[in-house]
Amino acid sequence: MKPSFSGIVVLALGMLSASIPALAHHSFAAEYDQKQPITLKGVVTHLDWMNPHVYFYVDVADKDGKLTHWACEAGNPNALARRGWKKDSLKAGDQITVQGFRAKDGSSTANARSITLADGKQVFAGSSDDGGPDGGEYKGRLN
């Protein structure tokens, strides 16, 4: 499916209103760069509802229509399920906007802090406390 949104990458600091449940099995700083916030607009290609973290994949088109396949890490499926989310709360074909942070290694990988559907509804939202930029008092404690 061809994305109807143009992909954009915003390298600007911004406040995120909602976030994803905690990264329990590794710290934010182990993998992601809080100095590289990113906004991805595109179409979900598939979702892995698996431990230790949900991963979903998004095709993001640049202004020339060239697609980049992004892997986005979300929260833990058990914690998400206890908050009422289901594996089909986000599914292939959904047009979404992801706000998050890029992996330090420069790959097309991001930690998703908020996921917004085309109708404005947010999915997989919850509190976060993993040392990431919106992780409450734990912010900035790593590295």
Partner: protein, 246 residues
């Protein structure tokens, strides 16, 4: 052909027999439950059975209220740690205490001679023997160590040694040596709550013992399966200071 098969069977059987003494030796320290010596929960000892969860505590300095009392080595290890080296990032075990303050519930199953902790995180468990046995002699270190406990009034007091220095104490990167001696106190504070106090004594990393206290609350939900290796796609992206565990 049949003759060769019988030779093979004989060879395998011989290997098993010659290996048997090794298994028997290992079994001397095995910790099969002894016959119960204590009354069951509710009969003079606190009933801790159920599914519980503590507040997620990725940094033990939070409940401690400041920097831990590091030795110079401990301070250096913490200052220079790299998050990508966290063993649990590779789905290696949490060690005996970190699983309690992870963002996952756990179930306590009490019997007269033993309490079992079923951790949701990593689908793993701990056994705490309350049948009066001592720690084994010549204890080898393991990820979860060796735990023995006793009841005092409303408290279950647990003593754990033999903890491998490969585990980290928390997500923030606090580490320890294999000299770590943990004392945990589970104290019932109501039908649906208990406090968990963990005292960490490690003369290699810390100048003096220190402790934290967290409150566990009874949960209405069940523990779920959590297989860490199922989809650990993070490993290729970790920034590390040393070769990644295989």
């Amino acid at each position: 052909m049949r003759h060769r098969i019988w030779i093979s069977v004989f060879a395998v059987a011989s290997l098993c027999l010659t290996s048997a003494p090794t298994f028997a030796q290992a079994g001397e320290n095995a910790t099969l439950p002894l016959p119960p010596k204590l009354p069951p929960p509710g009969d003079g000892i606190p009933d801790l059975n159920g599914v519980w969860e503590m507040p997620y505590t990725p940094d033990l300095e939070r409940p401690f209220g400041g920097a831990l009392p590091f030795t110079p080595l401990g301070a250096d290890k913490y200052k220079t740690h790299v998050g990508g080296d966290d063993p649990h990032g590779y789905c290696q075990p949490t060690g005996p205490t970190r699983a309690f303050h992870s963002p996952f519930p756990f179930q306590l199953v009490q019997s007269a001679g033993m309490t079992v902790v079923l951790f949701e995180i990593d689908h793993n468990f701990r056994r705490i023997f309350t049948d009066g046995r001592p720690h084994p002699k010549d204890l080898d270190t393991t990820w979860y160590g060796d735990s023995i406990g006793r009841y005092e009034g409303s408290k279950l007091i647990v003593d754990t040694i033999g903890i491998s220095d490969r585990s980290w104490l928390d997500t923030a990167g606090h580490q320890h040596s294999d000299k770590l001696h943990v004392t945990e106190v589970f104290e019932k504070t109501g039908p649906d709550s208990f406090t968990w106090t963990a005292a960490y004594d490690d003369p290699v990393y810390f100048t003096k013992p220190w402790s934290i206290t967290l409150t566990a609350k009874r949960q209405k939900y069940d523990i779920m399966e959590m297989i860490c290796t199922d989809n650990n796609q993070d490993i290729p992206h970790y920034i590390t200071s040393k070769p990644k565990p295989q």
